[in-house]
């Protein structure tokens, strides 16, 4: 699956420009300084291998991933061990360490937001389901619906204008401190992005939990559990919620996987130096090795996340057995 994705990415950046009438030299002249001479462009095209057939170029990329590659930096040759995603066409930096370097930012963003949205979303959803039709139910479901209808680049901008630039309660966009450096500062810097992101997701999760709870609470085994004389709380949590969690888990796997692959809009709005920002910069600079790297990285997370979700099914839902 990752191979398919990598081929498509490669194609978009190499084949589509060729349809549009681009040549290897034209591709190469993206990666030179201003007013470069034709010789410079030619040399760069050679260096980046643009003159080779596309299959050869793609093969070289795959080889880098599976067996590693060599990088000639002029004064010598550097070994780039597998998985080698190549070197940036622009900064000459290896892509893989760059990705690892930016992962903590995106990961921090995703973890914190996920924690918030799961806790809030699920509890609001359960409460709404139990008090169906109440004022609380209507209010929270109304808010939830508003939440899914707001684009994050809008809520993000408004939150920054109000809380950072206006009231000065939260740091401005772009603030990032490593967790190991100063945990309090880390959390403080991420507070606003966490809340904004969580608001958006919590809405979905609350709606989903509510629907799931309403459905499971009507099932026979819940009636049985009640008849057995179990306490209501136990019935709700152990039996009702547990079954209702299955679809939530599926969604969570996808959402979380996609999110660690780079929360592009959130990171753009708050200028966080994570994978999403990396992806946008890479695309803007048309830095193919970086684009390939971040796309594969992101897709990899989705694959891993859905695998983990499959495993968790067995734990959460008694009806599912691992076969």
């Amino acid at each position: 699956m990752l191979i398919v994705i990598s081929m498509v990415t490669f194609g978009i950046f190499f084949v589509v420009p060729q349809w549009a009438g681009s040549t290897p030299e034209a591709l190469a002249s993206r990666y030179v300084g201003r007013a470069a001479t034709p010789e410079t462009v030619h040399l760069v095209a050679e260096r980046l291998g643009f003159n080779d057939p596309i299959v050869v170029q793609y093969g070289r990329f795959l080889k880098g991933i599976f067996v590693g590659a060599e990088y000639d930096y002029g004064a010598g040759v550097e070994q780039c061990p597998a998985p080698c995603l190549g070197y940036s066409f622009i900064s000459g930096q290896p892509v893989w360490p760059d990705l690892l370097d930016r992962m903590p930012v995106t990961f921090s963003l995703a973890i914190g937001a996920a924690l918030l949205w799961v806790v809030f979303g699920v509890s609001v959803g359960v409460l709404s389901a139990l008090r169906r039709g109440s004022f609380f139910d209507r209010l929270s479901m109304g808010t939830a619906l508003a939440g899914v209808s707001l684009p994050i680049f809008f809520t993000g901008m408004v939150s920054l204008v109000v809380f950072s630039y206006g009231l000065g309660w939260t740091p401005p966009g772009g603030a990032w401190t490593d967790l190991t450096e100063n945990p309090a500062q880390w959390a403080y810097n991420l507070l606003l992005p966490w809340i904004t992101l969580a608001f958006l997701f919590a809405a979905t999760y609350a709606r989903l939990t509510r629907a799931g709870m309403l459905e499971t609470m009507g099932e026979d085994y819940i009636r049985t559990a009640r008849a057995k004389g179990l306490r209501e709380r136990e019935v709700v949590v152990k039996h009702g919620l547990r079954a209702a969690l299955t679809p939530i888990l599926t969604l969570f796997g996808i959402d979380f996987g996609l999110l660690i692959g780079g929360a592009i809009l959130t990171e753009t709005t708050y200028t966080l130096p994570g994978l999403g920002q990396f992806a946008i910069l890479a695309i803007r600079n048309q830095d193919l090795p970086q684009v390939m790297g971040v796309v594969l990285f992101a897709a990899g997370f989705v694959v891993v996340a859905s695998f983990v979700v499959d495993l968790l099914y067995a734990v959460v839902d008694p009806r599912v057995r691992l076969s």
């Binding site: 034209a26 002249s29 001479t37 260096r47 004064a75 550097e78």
Partner: protein
């Protein structure tokens, strides 16, 4: 030494005061920025244009700087940004340099590593530089003439160093079999550049060239020790020859410079080296950067292109903040290429219609207005260029465009009802987008219909506007463009954008000027040895371009720069077209 440079600065300041009226420094007062007693400087708008603002010789402190993007490379042999040339002098020294400080003197070059300016011989085909004795790298090893020669030779390898200027590749007489110091380590490159002894560097040119002193102020001549050279990876670990050296360097994120104790101020009267430490943050959000500059959290905005629109709305109406600004005109032209490749724009009258129809005021506003954008440009060369003359080939009332003349021109070119064409712009540059929208509005009034198309800046010249096949195939008629000069004379500014012989398949910077008359005048001007006559000829080139109507000037750029809070020794340097970074200190 310090006193000497301060005195020199004071002298230039006095001179600058006289000249500032014609220097295009913009509005504002020219009151002295500091009282004679040396009390704290009163901020006044444009104070750093004509003299050193808040002068100081106090050492110590940390200069905090930030950049909204990233360097092309920190390697002196692989960089081509104005701010990089400016900032790099903290950690490199070159044969010559722009004279630090404010005023028109900043356009002159003075010796840096060299004892004196270059000695031309063989009618300008050989240039000899004597370097000072006692120079050392940060590791204490001596800097000799051979290090400069090696540094120059290593930049020849454009495969390893694709970003830097190629002037020396083209000017010097390189051996045929020389492919760079890495690929052909055994080839002797002394036919191009050589160290004849420990202190003498000799350049051998293919043909006479007068402006060599301007070329060697570029960082290609910053010495690189051969045994520490790591090619494309040298940018990660640079050996300093200037007053500061790298303490840390995280590419794409941040780096810090600390004092280089091997740098001897006795050999370097031009760098006051005030701060103890310099910290640079990269890829900072541009709006946050402005906010931090206003609040004093950072001292310096590295790119030096001015404030973002949001900050502009905050700074200009506030007298206290406005007093901290400088508003210089920089040697940069923002313009629109009117490309003659596709009909009907191959007809000069159709191009003239575009010239007349354009609303210059709307274009100026789109480009940032009179303060942050620039002065309405009527011809190619901007005012800071030596010998520039201002003239207007397509005048209109209030610069709002002349629809009558435009319609006449349309009739003359056989398109009385107008025509349709496509205009490209760099999608990630909001000002260029606004400019394209303004042109669409203005031209629609005379029946010229524009389709606007944005492309990424990174491939704008390689794949789109600067790619001749693309332009022809897609009927591109207009393209936003901008150009700044490497050095402030006619050749330095115009050659790359108006000489049709530089045009190739892709990656062009001259998109539209394809005139034999212009080319002929360029040759005449380049060969002219008399400065006054040469400057006059460059004005003729300018006029010929305007008559060809293939380049629509928009603004001669101005930047609204904000002096950081608590920063001392601030001066706008015309050679750098920015604050002179090496002079700065902190309180």
């Amino acid at each position: 030494m310090k006193r000497k440079s301060a005195l020199a600065a004071a002298a230039t300041a006095a001179l600058a005061l006289v000249l500032s009226a014609c220097g295009g420094g913009g509005g504002g007062t020219t009151q002295p920025a500091q009282s004679a007693s040396g009390a704290a400087a009163q901020p006044v708008a444009n104070a750093a244009l004509t003299e050193v603002f808040n002068p100081s010789t106090k050492k110590g402190g940390t200069l905090k700087a930030a950049h909204s993007a990233d360097w092309d490379s920190l390697d002196p042999g692989d960089t081509y940004y104005g701010y990089s040339f400016n900032f790099g002098r903290f950690y490199w020294r070159t044969l010559t340099m722009y004279k630090p400080g404010p005023g028109p003197d900043g356009n002159t070059v003075i010796p840096d590593l060299a004892e004196s300016l270059g000695e031309p011989s063989d009618e300008g085909k050989t240039w000899t530089y004597k370097i000072k004795p006692g120079l050392k790298y940060e590791d204490g090893t001596p800097i000799g003439a051979k290090d400069v020669a090696y540094a120059v030779a290593r930049t020849f390898d454009k495969e390893t160093f694709p970003h830097g200027p190629s002037y020396l590749n083209e000017l010097l007489d390189w051996p045929k079999d020389f492919k760079g110091v890495y690929k052909t380590p055994d080839v002797d490159y002394k036919s191009a550049v050589e160290a004849t002894d420990d202190t003498t560097v000799v350049f051998h040119l293919k043909k006479p060239f007068a402006s060599m002193d301007y070329i060697v102020q570029m960082p290609m001549t910053a010495p690189v020790p051969k045994d520490k050279d790591t090619g494309a990876k040298y940018r990660e670990k640079i050996i300093s020859s200037g007053p500061y050296k790298f303490e840390t360097n995280e590419i794409g994120k941040k780096f810090a410079l600390v004092r280089n104790d091997q740098w001897d101020p006795a050999t370097d009267p031009n760098r006051p080296a005030l701060p103890d430490r310099i910290e640079v943050q990269l890829n900072v959000n541009a709006d946050d950067l402005d906010n931090q500059l206003i609040s004093g959290d950072i001292h310096l905005d590295i790119p030096g292109t001015g404030l973002q629109p949001a900050a502009l709305g905050k700074v200009l109406p506030d007298p206290a903040l406005k007093a901290r600004t400088d508003n210089p005109t920089i040697p940069r032209l923002w313009y629109i290429s009117v490309i003659p490749d596709n009909p009907p724009l191959d007809n000069v009258d159709c191009r003239k219609a575009v010239m007349y129809a354009a609303d210059r005021v709307a274009n100026q506003t789109a480009y940032g207005g009179e303060v942050a954008g620039g002065e309405i440009a009527t011809n190619v060369m901007p005012p800071p260029i030596v010998g520039q003359e201002k003239f207007d080939t397509y005048p209109s009332e209030g610069n709002k465009g002349d629809t009558t003349k435009a319609k006449e021109a349309l009739t003359a070119c056989g398109q009385p009802n107008g025509f349709s064409t496509t205009m490209t712009f760099r999608a990630d540059r909001p000002r260029e987008k606004a400019l394209a929208e303004a042109m669409e509005q203005a031209l629609s009034k005379v029946g010229i219909k524009l389709t606007l198309k944005g492309f990424p800046a990174s491939s704008y010249f390689s794949d789109y506007a600067g790619n001749t096949a693309y332009v022809k195939k897609n009927g591109i008629g207009l393209a936003t463009h901008g150009w700044g000069s490497d050095w402030p004379d006619g050749y330095g500014f115009m050659q790359a954008i108006v000489d049709s012989r530089t045009i190739r398949d892709a990656g062009n910077y001259n998109l539209s000027v394809k005139s034999d008359k212009v080319d002929g005048l360029i040759d005449q001007a380049s060969g002219e040895l008399d400065t006054t006559a040469r400057n006059k000829l460059w004005v003729d080139v300018d006029k010929a371009v305007m008559e060809d109507a293939s380049l629509l000037p928009v603004v001669w750029a101005k930047a609204l720069l904000l002096r950081g809070q608590g920063v001392t020794n601030v001066a706008y340097n015309e050679g750098q077209s920015m604050y002179d970074y090496i002079m700065l200190g902190v309180e």
